[in-house]
């Protein structure tokens, strides 16, 4: 019984995620595209939840759906001069098509050649305390975490420097 329920939930989430992604790339309206992105990230949170990774699911919702997509939509709206600018015609170019096909081929080949590995899932997800220990101690991933935060600080500084007022 739980397997069937999980299967149905997975089907709904997977279809809405792939559908959202297709909607995003095929939408001519940039605001609609950003909102499709929202659907994809909410569905991704649902998939994490289905894997019993509650914390990751909630952080996905808080950071990606609640902050990244909000910022994206906000930026799109702030940079649109007129409402009509949101709709763009198809801007076709051969090099872009070739590049996209090449990337798709590489990804497909990589996925096909991915070494098959069976991982046994733990019965219960480790608690948030264990998660914190793993992430923030020297035995765990503290170094990687610190490097990521340095990277983000650099990006922030660059953004501030870039958006400063230029004196003529």
């Amino acid at each position: 019984m739980p397997n069937t329920v999980d299967g149905i939930a997975f089907a709904i989430l997977a279809i809405s995620m792939v559908g959202g992604a297709l909607g995003m790339v095929s939408s001519r309206n940039i605001v609609h595209a950003a909102l499709w992105l929202l659907e994809v990230s909410v569905a991704a949170a649902g998939l994490y939840y289905l894997l019993d990774a509650d914390f990751i699911a909630l952080v996905q919702l808080l950071v990606y759906a609640g902050a990244v997509v909000v910022l994206t939509v906000f930026t799109v709206m702030i940079t649109l001069r007129r409402r009509e600018d949101a709709v763009r015609p198809v801007d076709f170019s051969w090099p872009a098509l070739l590049l996209a096909l090449a990337l798709g081929g590489i990804l497909l080949a990589a996925a096909a050649n991915f070494p098959k590995k069976t991982i046994s899932m733990p019965d219960a997800m480790p608690s948030i305390v264990r998660f914190g220990e793993l992430l923030f101690t020297a035995r765990g991933y503290a170094l990687a975490f610190e490097i990521a935060s340095v990277l983000l600080t650099v990006a922030l500084l660059a953004a501030v420097w870039w958006s400063r007022e230029v004196e003529d």
């Binding site: 909102l35 909630l58 919702l61 759906a65 609640g66 902050a67 910022l71 939509v73 906000f74 709206m77």
Partner: protein, 336 residues
């Protein structure tokens, strides 16, 4: 069987949300009325008590025109995108040790994550209306939310550090003791700066009056809700009042001991099962009253002032307070 129970719980949450909406609108009118030295609604029923019921009927039976220029799909789903997270936010609230829709180990994080989706719905409503006031309202709502979500989370963080849990029932239970034998060990005393930070951020997040720039009747008609009518407007409105309730319930849970009654033994409180939800509701409504009091007293802040308040004051202060608390908690742990 379990599914039926779960469905009943969700229905109970929905019922509470709708009832809250009706009661809170009446309360807002009465409280604001008396703060302005007038009576508020008096005509429908004794002391105007069924005024909001009449208003709900009016909203339900009103014509629902769709303006010609709107972005149809987004215009229709935006009220749902605002309403559904507001309803979901009730799921983890601890009305008592047993009364809750679900008991989540990450309850606090869950509530914050769900609430962070609401501004997107507001922005969708504002954009889809194709009306510059609506768009301004939506943009302001999102700018506000981005500026104040981080201080809000960081103001809740010290409490989580003290309680050592993200489960809201555990946070309540961590406040059960007494300091010096007679002061209830509620977190608002050691965490007073966090309470003030949280209260200001919560007012901003719920678009309450000193920070209601996203609606701003006098400049933006009705902000993001301008082009909505009938029950679609009703949903946007209801979600706003429901968020007020959820934020107040969070303040009660984090800082004022949740469903605990001071000086009554915990066993006795758990034996009289009904006392806890009643106390929780009373405390929550008291916090809502304080918020309405602020609403009736202070004039609206200008949007740029609010933005600099969020980024230049609330953010650094909340970061420093969280760091101080973490330091002290760690010292106490080492000292033990």
């Amino acid at each position: 069987m379990n599914v039926a129970y779960a469905a009943l719980r969700v229905l109970a949450g929905l019922g509470l949300m709708l009832a809250n909406g009706v009661v809170l609108i009446y309360m807002l009118r009465k409280v604001l009325g008396h703060l302005h030295v007038r009576l508020g609604p008096m005509e429908v029923g004794p002391k105007g008590i069924v005024q909001t019921t009449a208003d709900v009927l009016k909203l339900l039976t009103k014509e629902d025109p769709t303006p010609a220029a709107v972005d149809k799909v987004i215009y229709f789903i935006a009220p749902a995108v605002v309403f559904v997270p507001s309803l979901m936010a009730y799921a983890a609230l601890p009305f008592s040790a047993k009364w809750h829709i679900t008991d989540l180990n990450l309850g606090l994080l869950y509530t914050f994550s769900i609430l962070s989706l609401i501004p997107l719905g507001i922005l969708m409503a504002g954009w889809a209306s194709s009306n510059k006031w609506s768009l301004f309202g939506g943009m302001r709502a999102v700018a506000q939310q981005i500026a104040c979500e981080v201080p809000l989370l960081l103001a809740a963080l010290p409490v989580v550090l003290l309680a050592g849990s993200l489960n809201m029932n555990d946070i309540v239970k961590a406040q059960a003791g007494y300091w010096l034998g007679f002061i209830p060990a509620w977190f608002w005393i050691p965490m007073f700066p966090a309470l003030i930070l949280y209260l200001i951020s919560a007012l901003i997040e719920t678009n309450q009056t000193p920070f209601d720039m996203s609606e701003a009747e006098s400049e933006l008609v009705a902000g993001f809700a301008t082009e909505y009518a009938s029950m679609k407007f009703g949903l946007l409105f209801l979600s706003e009042f429901s968020n007020l309730f959820v934020q107040s319930a969070l303040i009660v849970t984090l800082f004022f001991g949740g469903w605990l009654i001071p000086f009554v033994p915990l066993e006795l409180q758990q034996k009289i099962g009904i006392s806890a939800p009643v106390v929780f509701m009373l405390k929550t409504y008291l916090v809502i009253f304080v918020m309405m009091w602020i609403r009736g007293t202070l004039p609206r802040v200008r949007i740029d002032h609010m933005m600099s308040l969020g980024w230049k004051i609330l953010l650094p202060v909340s970061v420093s307070w969280a760091m101080i608390t973490a330091f002290v908690v760690k010292l106490a742990e080492v000292g033990r």
